[in-house]
Amino acid sequence: MVPPGRKPELEVEQLRLGLQIMALRALGDAEAAEEAVQETLVRALEALREGRPRDPEKLGAFVRGIARHVIADAHQARRRSAPLNAVPEADRGIAGGDPLSALITDEERIHVRQALAQLSAADRDILHLSFFEGLSPVEIAERLGEPALRVRKRKSRALRRLREAFSRGADTCHDSKP
């Protein structure tokens, strides 16, 4: 039974982007991810209509649990239909590049590219070490022989510029819609 004041259909729709991110990262394939998202939303809606979870603060964790099961089922289905000449999973590296790029519009990509090109090479180095090697500002500072505070500030400033450019790309995309 749906508690008063809750609107399951709205709550579920607001989960879509987060689920797309999670499914794309886990499955690496846009089509498989979309199927997983749809299945998760259907199951989540059923649960919400039954009044689960009772605590709205737990919605994220609850839906994540559903999504993990759906994604695990999708992985199993793919393994069953994998081609005979596929590289064994143990020997595979990362496949598919960055799957989340499917969520980026061309306009956003263009704006981010322009903003990145306007950063200094040193700032791009910091971003590279952060986004591709997962290094913290302290670790980056050790690698580059710079003070950690300076690295933190440079990264923060670079991200602020990229965030503004990204927003402009999103605005352009919305403006161009009919």
């Binding site: 607001q14 989960l15 982007l17 987060g18 689920l19 991110i21 999670m22 990262r25 690496g28 394939d29 603060e57 919605l59 994220g60 964790a61 839906v63 994540r64 999504a67 081609p83 000449n85 596929a86 590289v87 020997d91 595979r92 590296g93 990362i94 496949a95 598919g96 590049g97 960055d98 989340l100 790029s101 969520l103 980026i104 956003e108 990509r109 981010v112 590219r113 990145l116 090109a117 090479a121 040193a122 791009r124 180095d125 971003l127 590279h128 070490l129 952060s130 986004f131 591709f132 090697e133 997962g134 913290s136 500002p137 690698r143 580059l144 991200l159 990229l162 965030r163 990204f166």
Partner: protein, 214 residues
């Protein structure tokens, strides 16, 4: 660097801890992944930050490629040396020929797969784009798409012809895992195969690259 996960995550903590970057780089622990995913499923701000991070990861390598090589000296980490016998004879010969300045196209595939159908058209073969020659750093491998291909297989060799790393991909670029690094100054070669039909693969040329010495 694990956050105290008994407390609910906040957006500020996520930014301070660099969790978004580490999540996309596959470097969060399982409890951290669980906490972060449970948070961002209902957080618009973090979803947008994730999309921004994805855009940066998508575009940064090509912007860096266009610039003079950056002075970033990676800490040598144990690479993922597969160490199994290479397709030695033909590949070693191909690599030797490349080193001798002779450009080869697909010789070893035709030798090692005798059941292969007649040679594919040049238009079916992928073209390796980056990295090529001497580069400052390598974050990803990239090639031109083949219209009829539904799967690509990337293979990286060392100068001796041993396979260093291989993977499959559906896109035309593959990011390197953080655990793999290349020795500065050493020669490597790579090739990408495109699956253009069931059990038919078209190969790019064998391309060499080298990381600049510091």
């Amino acid at each position: 660097m694990e956050e105290n996960l008994a407390e609910p995550l906040t957006c500020d903590a996520i930014v301070d801890q660099g969790m978004i970057e580490r999540y996309l780089a596959g470097m969060l622990s399982e409890p951290e992944v669980e906490a972060f995913e449970s948070h961002y499923l209902t957080c618009t701000r973090c979803q947008n930050e994730l999309r921004l991070a994805a855009a940066i990861r998508d575009v940064l390598p090509e912007v860096q490629e266009a610039e003079p090589a950056p002075d970033v000296s990676p800490v040598p980490l144990p690479g993922r040396w597969l160490g199994r016998p290479a397709r030695v004879g033909a590949v070693a010969a191909a690599i030797a020929a490349v080193l001798a300045g002779v450009l080869l196209v697909q010789p070893w595939h035709e030798e090692t797969l005798p059941h292969r159908e007649p040679a594919l058209e040049a238009a079916d073969a992928p073209t390796a784009e980056a990295p090529v020659g001497e580069v400052g750093t390598v974050a990803e491998f990239r090639w031109a798409p083949v219209a009829s291909a539904d799967l690509y297989k990337l293979t990286i060799y060392d100068a001796a012809g041993d396979v260093v790393w291989e993977t499959e991909a559906r896109e035309t670029h593959v990011a390197l895992p953080a655990s793999l690094s290349f020795e500065p100054g050493a020669l490597y070669l790579w090739q990408v195969d495109a699956r253009v039909d069931w059990d038919r693969w078209a190969s790019s040329e064998l391309v060499q690259f080298r990381i600049s010495e510091p």
